[in-house]
Symmetry: C2
């Protein structure tokens, strides 16, 4: 079979790097190839691993390098999108100032896009996921950290200093604000990340005299909290509802800033599914004006674990195939 | 003198309507013409007043209607930007579903832009004010209410449901959240609008045993609070600093969402000037990541009381002069 335009997407994470060949319709040609990141081996080896996992993905898809039009790379922040560098990623120590885009573009001689992983996931959901066809989209990626991405008029809001869509670090509390991993206080991430959910549940158990089933599940995980809530445990239920309320507040703030057509929740917690989304929707009307509260769609992400690869590929699909500049994160 | 392109800007407010003829460089040709809005006389008379004050402005500028290329209108929300209507403006009762854009376009047979007043002010500051030349701008307009506007890639972020840039209603507190005039709780406006500043100062006086000079100034005004703070009164100083802190939090949230090149503060409170901006800048580093906190410029608005007129005119400057459609808030 022949394809008009094939793109490789590479998703760099703290634990693994994953790559896949993606069609112009956002479909993976084969299961992604995976390699351990092992950042402690240093960034020179890391860059070589990136190139190798891309080559493996092209092999796995049974296509030739000549058929690849462009390469898209998603990486965890902080990044300098203008120069295509990873700066000092906290989960990939000791990497520092890694020229990812240039290295890959030089090695493959292909136009290469470079994007924040949460931005890439948002772009993927807009391109061919839960926000397909929407004029604008805001996405929250929920996990060990909280990522965010904004797509407006078909373009990622990268920001003037590569900090657009850092939605995990909008503030949701000023009073008794919880400390965040970023060093500040009161960030959304400090309330709804998986470790923050566990911390709030632990505190609730300390405060409460309830015979919560959570006491049998120590040490807790966010998943255990969600499962116990679904099974009717009141302490767990309180934590889950509070989590939905914080996310609703963040969604309402996005409505009063961007006012997107759709807000997408992805990542681990989103596995809690439709009942959790319903809780978020219910709380949104407490925080947002009636019109956006009613009209803005709130959806679960559709691309799942492949959002980074597909989104990264999406970011590269409009790059000029004849370009030798390899410039610009979105061309 | 002849001009390439002249535009009329009309700024509709609850108390007055103001109009002026603006050059392609954002300069008013004459002092604006002003008429009382008197909304209680009804919207039919209101629409006729709009047309008349525009005609008066053209006369005052000593130009002919033929020289006018387009008309821009700024109005208080809620609006339907798509249809060009004012919906149910709380400060212009009993107006309801007023077809402002269509009425003006039909009367003058000119392409007519229609925009939220805070959005228009933001566009004006971007076009020829404090944000001139910036790639992106977020503006907060501080007064009896708190308005907001976002300009990205030269376009106002109107939102999918005309609620883009409603920055007065992002949430800044969840705990003991103050009620807002919008019916929700915890909005920025409920903390930093002029009446909210007075309310917080009144409460501080009730709590405090201090011999605050504010006690001699009852009933308070926001201006009195700022002046007493500048004169060294500790209670007033606390309120002003808390106000700056809330605005810094809102600015940091804008940095972690839009990450603009510049954030502009306009409206009444901004008269507090550079010392107040310095307080905001200081608090921003408490809430925002180091890069945007250091690099995002925080500036006072430059267009002052004419921001609405000039901004409205700016919104109309790219409308096709031959268009008979008069469509689109920004063309």
């Amino acid at each position: 079979m022949t394809y008009d335009r094939l793109i490789v997407g590479l998703d760099i994470g703290g634990t693994t790097m994953k790559a896949g060949v993606v069609t112009d319709a956002g479909r993976l040609l084969a299961e992604p190839t995976i390699v351990s990141t092992e950042p402690e081996q240093g960034q020179t080896i890391g860059l070589r691993k990136m190139v190798n996992v891309i080559r493996d993905a092209i092999d796995a898809a049974k296509v030739d390098l000549e058929q690849i039009q462009a390469i898209g790379v998603a990486a965890p922040g902080p990044l300098d999108l203008r120069t295509g560098m990873m700066l000092e990623p906290p989960n990939l120590k000791p990497w520092r100032n890694v020229p990812v885009r240039q290295f890959i573009a030089d090695d493959f001689q292909k136009p290469t896009a470079f994007q924040n992983d949460a931005n890439a996931a948002a772009y993927g959901e807009w391109w061919c996921g839960a926000g397909r066809g929407a004029g604008s989209l805001v996405m929250f990626t929920l996990g060990t950290g909280i990522g965010g991405g904004i797509v407006l008029n078909g373009r990622i809001v990268e920001g003037a200093h590569s900090h657009g869509g850092e939605l995990g670090h909008i503030k949701v509390e000023l009073t008794n604000a919880r400390p965040c991993g970023c060093g500040q206080r009161g960030c959304l991430e400090a309330y709804v990340s998986a470790p923050a959910i566990v911390a709030r549940a632990d505190e609730a158990l300390t405060r409460s005299d309830d015979r919560s089933t959570l006491r049998n599940l120590l040490p807790l995980s966010a998943q255990a909290v969600f499962e116990s809530a679904a099974a009717g445990d009141l302490v767990a239920e309180g934590i889950v509802d509070e989590t939905a309320r914080y996310l609703a507040m963040a969604a309402a703030n996005a409505m009063h800033t961007i006012d997107p057509e759709v807000i997408v929740f992805g990542g681990g917690i989103s596995l809690a599914g439709e009942p959790f989304l319903q809780r978020i929707r219910k709380h949104v009307s407490e925080f947002a004006f009636p019109t956006p509260a009613q009209k803005c769609r709130i959806e679960a992400a559709k691309l799942g674990a492949h959002a980074g690869i597909i989104g990264a590929a999406g970011c590269a699909r409009h790059l000029d195939p004849d370009s030798r500049l390899h410039a610009g994160s979105l061309g």
